[in-house]
Assembly symmetry: C2
Homo-oligomer: 179 residues x 2
DNA sequence: TACCTATATGTGTCAATACACATATACTTA
DNA sequence: TAAGTATATGTGTATTGACACATATAGGTA
């Protein structure tokens, strides 16, 4: 049920279409809660039925019309109530860590390649976070409404840095092995 | 499809029953890949049908009989093949980070309480990792088969430490606010 | 005696998620 | 000209996952 809340969170930022939301999930909130576009479109319909969002069709020529969604007062109330419920513990699902548990039964060369790829991915993600921080939060103290986003970025950076350190150590430890 | 691989990974450690696996998932591999007991029992049946595990019923008096599962050569082969496929990117799903994005529209007092609870949970998890390291890896260099487990622990510690730092900073930043 | 916990294995069912497919148009690139 | 990309909204379906319920026994506790 938390995807609906994540969508409401996005729509407090500004009214958006399903397409906008899908892109937003790919570049922003999706770092912490992933969603695909069919999921988003279906959830938007449910939110409309509950009265938490209202839609408005934007006529476009050539391209398909956009259906833009906006949070209602009831939606804002739902958001507030959700924020008072205890947070679910963070879920980690990581293939790589699972493989590590059976290190003697797997292909070690493949493992090294996978950690190398992971290292690159985490570096890229960190660079992206830095880029977002530089363009959005370059000038001193953030506005009150942006504080949470900055804090989210900072956690992301902490997370990526942790992974980068770990990958480097892991490669150093695995490299000497012959196979 | 990756739960079956996680189970195979566990069974390379030693033969286990579904009940054993469920407990193992709660205290070990489950840090990186969560599973409930009905999921595990169903998956074990599928693994049996594929010939990746064989089962052996242990007759017990009083208590229900245990069905102990053991990896076959085909299972070990499947594990090896799985280890050569590229790893799926780690999935993060975190309610708290989502809430942070709408900081102006949520209950800030509840948020502070939630971060405080999170901090305690991460400290507890870190302590648990330290405990496991102390009892399992106290004596210098680990055996080759245990290296991956130690590395997994180290990543877990890095992760928990990152969260603990972040929570402390976050509370310091949110505390001064009046509401 | 009644309840709780641990051991041990399941079924039934609903919600969440992933992923392929479907449709329509305009613009850019090879 | 053909193919690919971007815009925009969906459907259909299979897999995964969560959670309540079901059953059976032994031992400890209130």
């Amino acid at each position: 049920m938390a995807l609906s809340d994540a969508i409401l969170v996005c729509l407090t930022e500004r009214p958006m279409s399903g397409y906008d939301l899908a892109k937003y999930f790919d570049t922003s909130i999706g770092f912490f809660w992933h969603a695909t576009h069919p999921q988003i479109y279906r959830e938007l319909k449910k939110l409309g039925q509950r009265g938490h969002v209202v839609s408005d069709e934007e006529i476009q020529s050539g391209k398909p019309n956009r259906i833009v969604y906006c949070v209602t007062d009831a939606g804002r109330q739902a958001l507030l109530e959700w924020s008072r419920k205890p947070v679910a513990p963070a879920v980690i699902k990581d293939d790589l860590l699972v493989r590590l548990q059976a290190i003697e039964h797997i292909d070690k060369r493949a493992l090294r390649q996978q950690i190398t790829a992971r290292l690159a991915a985490h570096r890229e993600q960190l660079a992206q976070y830095h880029h977002i921080r530089d363009v959005r939060f370059s000038d001193g103290e953030p506005e009150p409404g942006d504080l949470g986003k900055l804090m989210g970025l900072e956690l992301g950076m902490e997370y990526e840095n942790g992974w980068i350190n770990w990958c480097k150590n892991a490669l150093a430890r695995l490299e000497p092995a012959g196979d």
